[in-house]
Amino acid sequence: MTATAGKAAPDFEAPAYDQSEGFTNVKLSDYKGKWVVVCFYPGDFTYV
């Protein structure tokens, strides 16, 4: 299953850092009922 506009977003779970919660685990399906923007970026400490 790959991401397609108009189709269900593929679920995922990953370790995360959150400034209010510290180290945590984030699962996309926990956000059901909310609008979510998922933003991929190349890497920490890069320029743009």
Binding site: A14, Y17, G33, V36, V38, F40, V48
Partner: protein
């Protein structure tokens, strides 16, 4: 984004430890109080592959942005290669437009901004969009 009721998840292949130090050493100096959303660690691009943004050759996720509605459906997506940053204003416009569509059932034509003309889909509108929506006035 908070005001629009939207949660943000940022994802890169960096570890959660790197995310923490980036937040503490740099981001918190750019954004007052640091970035207010979780930063996820996508080791090996496992999630990036699912979303079609993992660059095998360089081992990183390129810039991909996915707007997901409350039902878990991807409503909009944008994928860009690394050297150019995104336009935040366009993302906000899309969020407002999709939220308007879901709330009202009206649709938002090209270049729509809050307050601009929306269209109410119906058989009567077929072939008559020109009467209610003028590109020069709306996009100019």
């Amino acid at each position: 984004m908070k005001k629009l009721g939207v949660d943000v998840l940022a994802i890169s292949v960096d570890s959660k430890f790197s995310h923490k130090i980036w937040q503490e050493e740099e981001l918190s100096k750019m954004v007052d109080g640091g970035v207010p959303f979780p930063m996820l660690s996508d080791a090996g691009g496992r999630i990036g592959k699912l979303y079609g943004v993992y660059d095998e050759e360089n081992g990183v996720n390129i810039r991909g942005r996915f707007l997901i509605d409350p039902d878990g459906v991807i409503q909009a997506m944008e994928v860009m290669t690394p050297p150019v940053g995104r336009n935040f204003a366009e993302l906000i416009r899309q969020i407002k437009a999709y939220q308007h569509v879901i709330k009202t059932g009206e649709v938002c034509p090209a270049g729509w901004q809050p307050g601009k003309t929306t269209l109410k889909p119906s058989p009567d509108l077929v072939g008559k969009v020109w009467k209610v929506w003028k590109p020069d006035a709306e996009l100019g």
